[in-house]
């Protein structure tokens, strides 16, 4: 994994928690942060094999895994306590865990609405709420929420998903206000169309037409998003808070 490791990003002693870190964008984030020297705890909900693969692929790096359903507030608190008990700190939270259940509004199922909102919104809040007291006490820390271009631009068949990501944007700005007095920064990264298993169905449905709507004329790679997270986590972004950084090849401009 290539990483801008020739510069001191101020990450090498840090501890990061990345939710939903076993696949796709989350995995790329885990690998970039670990390559930058961070002690990374990735959480996963189902796929223990994929989580173990991330650890195996990152030989020599500090990557560990924890089973977690971010929808469970008490479990999120317990996980953070466990991390702090082991490492004595938590410097970075990347709220990446998220799900898509696309359907046109009129036929969307209650369960499709519930699982998207509970995972994407409640899960993000649960984890931020769990790490915040530790960061407040330490007077340092960064929270990066993975949003989506859908949160601003919307998308056909994505009413639940777009609503959840729009909520994350508002949440990001509000937490940034609350935690700024202690020097804690809170930002979001909003990916566009990225080459992951989770977005495969969306990309297949959109076909080639989607490329014509991306200014840079290519689908994004998970690592494109991971580098943006690396930047916001680094000391180079110490003066940035409450921002939504789009990583979409210009998708939202079209």
């Amino acid at each position: 994994m290539n990483c801008p490791g020739t510069v001191d990003a101020g990450l090498s002693d840090g501890v990061a928690i990345v939710t939903g870190g076993s696949r796709g964008i989350g995995r790329a984030i885990v690998e970039v942060l670990a390559a930058a020297g961070m002690d990374v705890i990735l959480t996963y909900r189902q796929d223990s094999v994929a989580a173990a693969e991330v650890v195996a692929a990152g030989q020599g790096l500090r990557i560990s895994t924890e089973l977690l359903d971010v929808r469970e507030g008490a479990a999120c608190t317990a996980l953070v306590e466990k991390v702090v008990d082991r490492t004595g700190r938590v410097d970075l939270l990347v709220n990446n865990a998220g799900v898509i259940r696309d359907n046109p509004l009129t036929i969307i199922e209650d369960e499709e609405l519930r699982v998207v909102m509970e995972t994407n919104v409640t899960g993000t809040l649960n984890m931020a709420r769990a790490v915040a007291p530790h960061m407040i006490a330490a007077r340092r820390g960064k929270i990066i929420n993975i949003s989506s271009v859908s949160g601003e631009k919307g998308g056909r068949g994505q009413t639940n998903y777009a609503a959840s990501k729009g909520a994350i944007n508002g949440f990001t700005r509000s937490v940034a206000v609350e935690l700024a007095p202690r020097g804690i920064t809170v930002n979001a990264v909003a990916p566009g169309v990225i080459d992951t298993e989770m977005s495969r169905e969306v990309r297949e449905r959109a076909g080639d037409a989607v490329l014509s709507r991306i200014l840079l004329r290519r689908i994004g790679r998970p690592v494109d998003v991971a580098y943006a997270v690396w930047f916001l986590a680094s000391r180079y972004a110490d003066y940035i808070t409450g921002e939504i950084l789009h990583v979409d090849g210009g998708f939202k401009m079209e």
Binding site: P133, I136, A137, L179, P181, R182
Partner: protein, 136 residues
Amino acid sequence: MAVYPKIAEIIAAALPCEIERVKPDASLIDDLGAQSIDFLDIVFRIERAFKVKIPRGKIVEEARGDLSAAEFDQRGVVSEAGLQRLRAFLSEVPPERFASPLKVADIPRLFTTETFCKIVIRQQRAQSAPADPKPA
């Protein structure tokens, strides 16, 4: 663990300020410059240090006792009955600090170092007390 020295240490670390300034009757807001986020930090540190749980709003809830919410305050201003309860419950706070009218939102201005010591002691007692026997 002795309660007062640890509470003073926690408050000094959270604000931060010199520990000599953290006197028992010091108002955290008016004397030590605490902001709302500092209270979150202080309560978090106290909970970890003393292994107690301090629910949000615990002080006002306990001070209110059997007074209903409507009896305790009207439109955010503490009633005379509510003030009496507060004076009795926060007996460590010098009487002259109980301004009238007192807004509910301003109650935290009354909290002193000793207020937090009392909370910890009460919570420690509550947590170590045997649970009520279950009915047969």
